[in-house]
């Protein structure tokens, strides 16, 4: 007991080398993490670091190729700075992806817990809805909703938030059912803890790692989905911009100015790739059952 609580320095007489949890991270995962940290920083500070206002046109400098000062990434058909637009696009796309992932994780986990707690008809309804969601191509559902509700950033985030909830619901339902059969959950219950407390304070932390891993699987798909919708011109609307949106109008200039679409396209691919690499590594680390 005492040995476990004493700091190592006291036992050995010298400081044990301090290691951060990711010390055995492979190089590829480190690069992926670095890339994602960079993306998040860009998303947070985009308006501060972008060299130009992303909407301001400059008709004298249209379609300037990249590598020319001051437009390092070139300009588009209205002379707007591609780098500035890229930075803002990253911000919008990540905002949508983060917002949507959180909504879908919360929604799915809640429904999964409700199914696990009530069983019976509630469980059947949740499972039926999950089957329905899994069997319909989400892009088609999303397009139908957008067609008739019009479009706004909030609606788009909410809509994307409906993507992938069924996976969290299935996972959390299954895990919660098996967890409530375990000793710790029934111990809490017998001590008089409310179901809310048992589920949120005891079961949730125990299954969180699996849910986080599922989040890394859903997150890239949300990015792809949003960029697909925006590419079709049905997602983020101008004058706002997003990565898919940039690729969408950049394709009109694919022969004369391929840089307009290449920069955002590469960003989309690298970001989804980075999340996948990080997610694979996290899965091996945190949750051997999912492998």
């Amino acid at each position: 007991m005492s040995e476990q609580t004493l700091p190592r320095t006291v036992i050995d007489g010298k400081a044990a080398p301090r290691r951060w949890p990711g010390h055995d991270m492979p190089l590829l995962v480190r690069i992926a993490l670095l890339w994602l940290v960079g993306m998040v920083l860009i998303a947070l500070f985009a308006p501060l670091i972008s060299p130009f206002v992303y909407t301001s046109p400059n008709l004298r400098n249209r379609l300037v190729p990249p590598g020319t000062f001051p437009h390092i990434f070139g300009t588009d058909e209205l002379g707007r700075d591609v780098l500035s637009r890229l930075l803002i696009s990253i911000r919008i796309s990540l905002l949508i992806a983060f917002g949507a992932s959180i909504i879908s994780a919360v929604l799915g986990t809640t429904l999964g817990f409700l199914a696990a707690y009530f069983r019976g008809i509630v469980e059947q309804v949740v499972l039926m809805l999950a089957d329905f969601q899994a069997s319909m191509p989400f892009l088609i559902l999303a397009l139908s909703v957008l067609a008739f509700f019009g479009n706004s950033l909030v609606l788009l985030i909410g809509l994307m938030g409906l993507f992938g909830w069924e996976r969290y619901a299935r996972i959390s339902r299954g895990l919660a059912i098996s967890a409530s059969a375990q000793g710790y959950a029934s111990a809490c219950r017998q001590l008089g803890a409310s179901p809310m407390r048992v589920y949120l304070r005891h079961i949730l932390p125990n299954i969180a790692s699996t849910l986080i891993v599922s989040m890394t699987l859903v997150f890239p798909e949300v990015i792809l989905l949003e960029s697909g919708l925006s590419f079709l011109g049905l997602g983020v609307q101008p004058p706002m911009t997003s990565l898919g949106n940039m690729v969408g109008y950049g394709r009109e200039y694919i022969t004369r100015a391929p840089w307009i679409m290449l920069a955002p396209a590469l960003t989309i691919v690298s970001t989804t790739l980075a999340v996948s690499v990080l997610g694979d590594w996290l899965r091996d680390k945190l949750d051997p059952t999912l492998r």
């Binding site: 329905f132 509700f149 590419f231 011109g233 690729v247 969408g248």
Partner: protein, 310 residues
């Protein structure tokens, strides 16, 4: 077996009913179609006449019943733009889309499944790593980026193939490749992990321990068992034959169902969108049914005890 079929059919019906309800809720409760179609400056009499003609003034539950009844009778409404039957508009686009998605499906299956099996059987080899790397790329590269990259290489730089349109079979090559490559990568990854899972099972070890030649172990024991998860994915791909090319059709200006959907969404053409939505649901449900029956065929356990299937 009869019970098995009955349960599956019941589920299919429920899914269709859910989609119909979804379509109704989303398409009817969101704003006023009359105003959207006629524009904000339309005279009130015109709006009223329009609402009457489309039954928009009835109470919602009545509209819902009419709606359900109409759909059961195959009446899917008319395009609010040109007055043609929505189903007609959609039907003439289906073969156009299938001209892309069927060859693409052949590429997915013909390339993806063998690649996945090969990678699993040679786990850790160079070929395995290449297959895995390509399949990760297939997961993370959006189809429009892949499509535009192919356009950039084969149409813009090399000038070998047209970049868009639907005039000859050469126009179909790039879109078919775009659809096929991405899908093959996904399928390869699923097949590989299904194979690896089966190869780790005790019965494989038993089979090879009792002296069954390795080839027979693979063909007779591993492949049939790995087929089940793979069939699920293939079933999903068959379900997306009609609507799986929305983005790719837009990239290559291919006038199929997907293009029609995008235009209908942009124009808020209610009838066409809901017609496509229902069509997609029907295809998905049908392919799920086929997959379920295939399960029963592939896995006798499910025939005995259908409840365990879910």
């Amino acid at each position: 077996m009869l019970r098995f079929i009955a349960i599956r059919l019941g589920r299919a019906m429920i899914t269709i009913a859910l989609v119909v309800t979804f379509a109704f809720v989303v398409l009817r409760l969101s704003g006023d179609p009359a105003q959207i179609i006629l524009g904000p400056e339309a005279p009130p009499e015109a709006v009223a006449a329009f609402r009457k003609a489309w039954g928009l003034d009835d109470p919602l539950w009545l509209q819902y019943f009419h709606y359900f009844g109409a759909i059961i009778q195959g009446e899917l409404g008319r395009s609010m733009r040109d007055g043609r039957a929505a189903i007609e508009l959609v039907a003439e686009r289906i073969p156009v889309t299938l001209a892309l998605t069927l060859p693409a499906l052949a590429i997915k299956i013909g390339l993806g499944i063998p690649a996945g099996i090969y990678a699993a059987l040679h786990r850790g080899s160079l070929a395995d790593r290449v297959v895995m790397m390509l399949s990760v790329a297939g997961f993370t590269i959006p189809s429009f980026v892949l499509g535009l990259t192919l356009v950039l290489i084969f149409a813009v730089k090399l000038g070998w193939l047209p970049s868009g349109g639907q005039d000859s079979w050469r126009h179909a090559i790039l879109p078919v490749l775009t659809l096929g490559i991405g899908g093959a990568a996904v399928l390869a990854r699923f097949t590989r992990s299904a194979m690896l899972e089966v190869l780790g099972q005790p019965f494989i070890r038993t089979a090879s321990a009792k002296g069954v030649p390795w080839r027979d172990v693979i063909v007779g024991h591993a492949l049939p068992n790995a087929a089940i998860p793979t069939v699920t994915i293939v079933g999903f791909m068959i379900g997306t034959l009609i609507a799986g090319a929305v983005v790719v059709e837009s990239v290559f200006s291919w006038p199929g169902v997907g293009r029609l959907l995008v235009v209908a969404v942009a124009n808020r053409d209610l009838a066409v969108v809901q017609c496509i939505l229902l069509l997609v649901a029907a295809t998905m449900v049908t392919s799920n049914l086929i997959v379920d029956f295939l399960y029963g065929f592939l896995d006798p356990r499910l025939r005995q005890n259908p409840g365990k299937a879910s």
